[in-house]
Amino acid sequence: MSLDTTQEKWDLEIKPQSTLFDLHLKDVWNYRDLLWLLVRRDFVSFYKQTIFGPLWFFIQPIFTTVIFTFIFSNLAKISTEGAPPALFYMAGNVAWNYFSDGLNKTSTVFRDNANIFGKVYFPRLIMPLSIIFSNLVKFGIQFLLFLLLLAYYMFTGFNIHPNWCILLFPIVIILMAILGLGLGLIITAMTTKYRDLTFLVTFGVQLLMYATPIIYPLSSAPEKYRTIIAFNPLSGLIETFRYGFLGTGEFYPLALAYSVVASLVIFLLGLIVFNKVERNFVDTI
């Protein structure tokens, strides 16, 4: 008993503190099956007992696009850089929704799952990740709608030129996912103790949409505000997305590079903060 105690091999050590950068990513990988099952759960439970099922994912972008087109294009006469307004708004909307849904839902992940987190251990990161992935499914469906609209406008001979930037699309989506996830993780970690921030998030996200070139192209923003808007890491992503598919407007390589760096930094920060809070949040929530 005396000698072998030091040499014993333990698979797991539960300690009060761990280093800041110990993110248990290996653990997350071990639980990958759970991730897929949760995504499936979200998707299946969404359309259970509905007649139209996943078709409901279409409703929201269609209505938003119609209303945006009417208000911002017909009434306010905001430029769409020569692109058909419906397509322009649909592009912005679908992309924006992916980001904002991810952010909104991940920002309450601790609170929403307090019960299950209090009863069983699994890497907490699985939950927000599953949200991002199930939103990706939803985004995929909505993106299909966008492609249909795009095809329609191309056949009817509108001024649309998809170009090489389309290849950046996967990167743009990944960046939007990790940006939303990173922000959501930071917010949910901060709101376990002081819930005040939760109230800010809902309308903060709404306001953020106006600080992002969704309903207007970056080029049409007044010169002095343009740099401020470009500080929003989403701006570069949305602009790249729209440029790639519509070919209208401009490609801002610098803005995209900035978005990449900012997203990665926020994501990493979110991971660290989340990881620090997850260890004990059960006691405070």
Binding site: E8, L37, G118, V282
Partner: protein, 434 residues
């Protein structure tokens, strides 16, 4: 390489009472500052015990304090303690739901914990979908669940409903399915909280049987928390006794259960003199003292079902030649009188020579003995009476003593479910074929 599968070293866990933070932002900040410099939290006061019945000085309680023990592979360990003793906290820390404040736990192999039945079940999903989801939440890979799928369904007995959303399940089916998933985990260590309280007796027995298999046949380690001493004594070879978050004892289950029963203190085992709450005084005699005594352990208010209970009744005769008889009523926790008894020769198993005689002034002690295997595992109270021969002028002290009878595992070899009845005497049973 030793056989130790879990090693707990100096494990402590502190909780904040009341508000979740220290109360003010400035104190929160000063605490953060102290922690950042690597100092101890200035608002944590070490040395206070966690006794929920007395108000502590600080807002922080130590739910667990300085626990150290080793658990060997293949053992079934019971965790015993009163409410608030830290059982659930220990399980939570062991199953990594929360982290310890100090100390460490080292583990070999995987831990699966079942702190609640059906964690993560989604009402809209079918039984089949929930088996996979729940299994994954508990840490199983998809392939493992597939391998055990048929066994799980069979164990739960829900073949017919496997493609029905679980929201349409009866609560019994729901619980059966949930336990079935957990029971088929392939982890080296299984932690089970008091989940068997749900479900019917037959299913409880099935669960216990399964857990027995897990530990004895499959050689896996089981940690089991329950208030049901019957289940603990049937399942667990060794047990841990917790009190106020501290490890009181770690020994053979029988020894621990015995100690647990002794440790009760909330009941009234003895009252004396003015402390006796007398409802009506008798002019000829006075209540002096009432106490409950175990043959081996002295004054106590907790008895094992296998113990003889002595009720000692001391009274002072105030006038010479008074004929006064002691009498007691045994009541259940609802106040229903189960029996009444006195020391009359025709009502007593032994002859009391003082009965019927005029007594001289002075203090007398009468003892009434309740045999073992007579009461059920319940809380009881006792009312005491001083009855003059004339039957008027009674001295009455209602419910002055209270005590609990607890399971020790005897009479429980065949049946572990709820035992009905206010008393549980051992009676003579015999069957003949006609």
């Amino acid at each position: 390489m030793s056989n130790t599968i879990i090693r707990v070293e100096n494990l402590s866990k502190a909780y904040q009472l009341g508000e979740f933070s220290t109360g003010t932002l400035s104190r929160d900040i000063s605490r953060k500052w102290a922690m950042m410099r690597g100092k101890e939290d200035p608002y944590l006061k070490i040395g206070e015990t966690n006794d929920r019945t007395s108000q502590g000085v600080s807002d922080i309680v130590w739910s667990l304090k300085d626990l150290s023990f080793d658990i060997e592979q293949g053992d079934a360990i019971g965790i015993i303690g009163r409410n608030g003793a830290g059982k659930s906290t220990l399980l939570k820390v062991l199953s990594r739901v929360t982290t310890p404040t100090t100390g460490s736990i080292k583990v070999k192999g995987r831990i699966a914990s079942l702190l609640e039945v059906g964690t993560g079940f989604h009402p809209e999903l079918t039984g089949k979908e929930n088996i996979f989801l729940n299994g994954a939440i508990l840490g199983m890979r998809k392939a493992e669940i597939k391998k055990h799928f048929d066994a799980i369904v069979e164990f739960a007995g829900v073949e017919r409903y496997i493609d029905t959303p679980v929201k349409r399940y009866s609560s019994g089916m729901y619980v059966r399915l949930a336990f079935a998933v957990a029971a088929h985990l392939e982890s080296e260590i299984l932690i089970v909280d008091e989940v068997l309280a749900v479900g019917d007796a037959e299913f409880q027995k099935k669960c216990l049987g399964k857990m027995n298999d897990v530990s004895k046949k499959e050689g896996r380690t089981v940690l089991f928390v329950s208030h049901n001493m019957a289940s603990i004594s049937n399942l667990c070879t060794k047990s841990i006794l917790l009190k106020h978050g501290m490890l009181q004892d770690f020994d053979e289950t029988g020894v621990i259960i015995d100690r647990y029963i002794r440790s009760g203190k909330e009941n009234q085992a003895q009252v004396m003199g003015d402390a006796i709450n007398v409802n009506k005084t008798c002019s000829r005699a006075n209540f002096e003292a009432l106490r409950m005594v175990s043959g081996t352990r002295g004054i106590t208010s907790n008895f094992g079902i296998n113990e003889e209970i002595s009720i000692e009744f001391e009274y002072e005769i105030l006038e010479d030649n008074a004929k006064v008889y002691p009498s007691i009523h045994l009541l259940d926790s609802m106040g229903t009188c189960i029996l009444s008894t006195f020391n009359g020769p025709s009502a007593s198993l032994v002859f009391d020579e003082y009965f019927g005689k005029p007594l001289k002034r002075g203090i007398y002690k009468s003892v009434c003995k309740i045999p073992p295997y007579f009461l059920n595992t319940k809380n009881y109270s006792i009312s005491a009476f001083l009855v003059p021969e004339s039957m008027d002028d009674l001295g009455i002290a209602e419910q002055v003593l209270s005590f609990a009878v607890e399971e020790t595992g005897e009479m429980r070899k065949e049946y572990t479910g709820e035992w009905w009845g206010l008393i549980r005497p051992m009676l003579a049973w015999k069957t003949d074929k006609l």
